[in-house]
């Protein structure tokens, strides 16, 4: 249904730590791998061995270069999938009702049996999180691994999105962002978790933890006296060495 629910019971989503993401693409590939054999139609690839390979992915890793005013340039690796927005414009524009937001967990899904492949939802999404599968002709997007997180056929500890389970650096976290006591909510508070393009008014559920401050160093640690042994009254390093050996006993 194309109208958004007034209220969702939980707001399940991802928290992505940009301080830790090394840009390895593991989450993107494992997402592709899980979803090509899972929810809905396979994620197809066109001309996979040809001159212009392309395919449908639900998660892609971008890399940005940042030039701070007063520090060396940095690279930030930036994974991006559907943010499961609270005010999801992709849902309300959908003419067929194929796009909808679930009441029970806030997951935004596409009912592939109803989708007519008009692409309007992808136009409405500010984040580029929806891709039309060119073989099946239906809209694809992150399902938050709805077929994993409640799946009784999967061991309990693995009832996580495929991308979260595979991320080697531990940069991806999954949980209920409507529960202020959840681990993900804690993280968002502690690290200043942010919304992407808040001005678009979509109220994303997924949050991004910004990179920690880099390359700003205090002066040398106070505990270490760099000039100490170079002082003229000392006998230099080899004199110090004797005293150090004495202390060893």
């Amino acid at each position: 249904m194309t109208t958004l629910p007034d209220r969702v019971e939980r707001r399940m989503g991802l928290v992505i730590d940009l301080d830790i993401c090394v840009g390895c693409h593991a989450c993107a590939v494992s997402c592709k791998e899980w979803n090509t054999q899972g929810y809905g139609a396979p994620l197809s690839d066109q001309h996979p061995y040809g001159a212009d390979p392309s395919g449908t992915w639900l998660n892609r890793i971008h890399s940005f270069e940042i030039e701070p005013e007063d520090a060396p340039a940095q690279i930030v690796h930036f994974p991006k999938s559907c943010l499961h927005c609270e005010d999801a414009p992709c849902v309300t524009v959908c003419p067929t009702g194929a796009s909808y937001k679930r009441v029970e967990d806030g997951i935004v899904l596409v009912n592939e049996d109803h989708c007519m492949g008009c692409g309007l939802c992808a136009w409405a999404c500010p984040y580029g999180a929806r891709e039309l599968d060119r073989a099946e002709g239906v809209m694809k997007k992150c399902t938050l691994c709805v077929d994993r997180i409640y799946n009784d056929n999967i061991p309990e500890e693995d009832r996580l999105p495929a991308c979260v389970r595979s991320c080697p650096a531990g940069a991806r976290h999954f949980g209920d962002l409507s529960d202020p006591g959840s681990a993900v909510s804690d993280m968002v508070r502690a690290r200043g978790g942010m919304d992407l393009m808040a001005e678009q008014g979509t109220k994303p559920v997924n949050k991004y933890l910004p990179p920690r401050i880099r390359d700003r160093h205090a002066t040398a640690p106070q505990t270490v006296q760099l000039a100490r042994l170079a002082e003229p009254e000392a006998t230099g390093f080899l004199g110090w060495l004797d005293r150090a050996l004495e202390r060893l006993g």
């Binding site: 993107a28 890793i61 270069e65 580029g128």
Partner: protein, 303 residues
């Protein structure tokens, strides 16, 4: 945005057809023989043909019927419903008019209202997208309505001429002039509607703007993808200028001239005037898409 031919044909032709419905529904057009037929057939033909073209944009046209279900929230769904309603109503009106020679005025007015609403809904499909500032921050509905109005009027006049009736050049000239004004207005707004005016930029898109100047280092894939094909279309400045010129000349100057000459040389000139106008509007509509930039292109390096 990718200027898909099916959508350009759809919006231009359905706008034209619905514009004709609007004027005919209001009672324009001569009441004599062939002209009625020409008006009714062309109005329905353009509108329905445009609608059919829109299916070309669907990956699963077999499911197009589902688009009638979400009128409560979706402009695309509303447009579909309104279109059917408008054409249905106009069909009844036209049947009475052409076959029975009677105008059921209230039905005509309703058809006119529905046609107007349909064009508005079409425009709102684009105007609602905050993701495309060039559409959402500009008088897009006004423009679509104006184009539909002017085109519709020319359509009615051309159909009348084909039916052997006299044409009324004055109101066409007025409509064209007004529409040209609206088009200039839209263009002025669009030129100002850089993506900044939504406040979105590569910095807010990534949330990294406060750390420093942000630029794309590596895209996620070296190849292309649906999003880039669809959303990251770029048109050259020169090309845009040429097309805008075509739009102005073919869409307005030529029709104006032909319309001026029509009373002197013959009403049939309204036909080439209409053809020229449609070609010009197509060029402008192509630019409407091609020049529109989507905020998600920030993620692919557009600043």
């Amino acid at each position: 945005m990718h200027p898909a031919p099916s959508i350009i044909v759809f919006t231009v032709l359905s706008g034209l057809g619905l514009g004709m419905v609007f004027w005919a529904g209001l009672g324009l057009g001569p009441d004599h023989g062939a002209a009625r037929w020409w008006i009714a057939v062309l109005a329905l033909g353009f509108a329905a043909g445009g609608g059919a073209a829109s299916a070309g944009h669907l990956a699963r046209p077999d499911r197009a019927w589902r688009a009638f279900s979400q009128w409560r929230s979706s402009w695309l769904s509303r447009e579909a419903c309104l279109m059917v309603a408008a054409l249905g109503t106009f069909g009844m009106y036209a049947a009475g008019w052409t076959l029975g020679g009677v105008r059921f005025w209230p039905v005509g007015w309703i058809a006119a209202g529905l046609a107007l609403a349909t064009v508005y809904a079409t425009a709102m499909i684009y105007a609602q997208l905050r993701t495309v500032p060039r559409w959402s921050l500009t008088p897009t509905p006004q423009t679509f309505l104006a184009f539909a109005g002017a085109g519709g009027l020319m359509g009615v006049e051309a159909a009348s001429a084909l039916g052997g009736a006299d044409v009324s050049a004055g109101r066409v000239l007025l409509a064209l002039a007004l529409t040209a004004g609206v088009a200039v207005w839209w263009q002025t707004e669009a030129a100002g509607a850089g993506r900044r005016s939504t406040g979105s930029d590569i910095g807010t898109a990534t949330g990294l703007g406060r750390l420093g100047r942000v630029r794309l280092f590596e895209p996620p894939h070296t190849g292309s993808n649906y999003l880039l094909d669809e959303m990251a279309y770029r048109v050259g400045r020169r090309r845009a200028y040429q097309l805008r010129l075509i739009g102005a000349v073919a869409g307005f100057l030529v029709p104006l001239a032909l319309t001026l000459l029509a009373p002197l040389l013959g009403g049939w000139l309204m036909v080439p005037a209409l053809v020229s106008h449609v070609a010009g509007v197509m060029a402008l509509r192509w630019l409407f898409f091609a020049e529109a930039e989507h905020v998600q292109a920030f993620y692919y390096g557009m600043r």
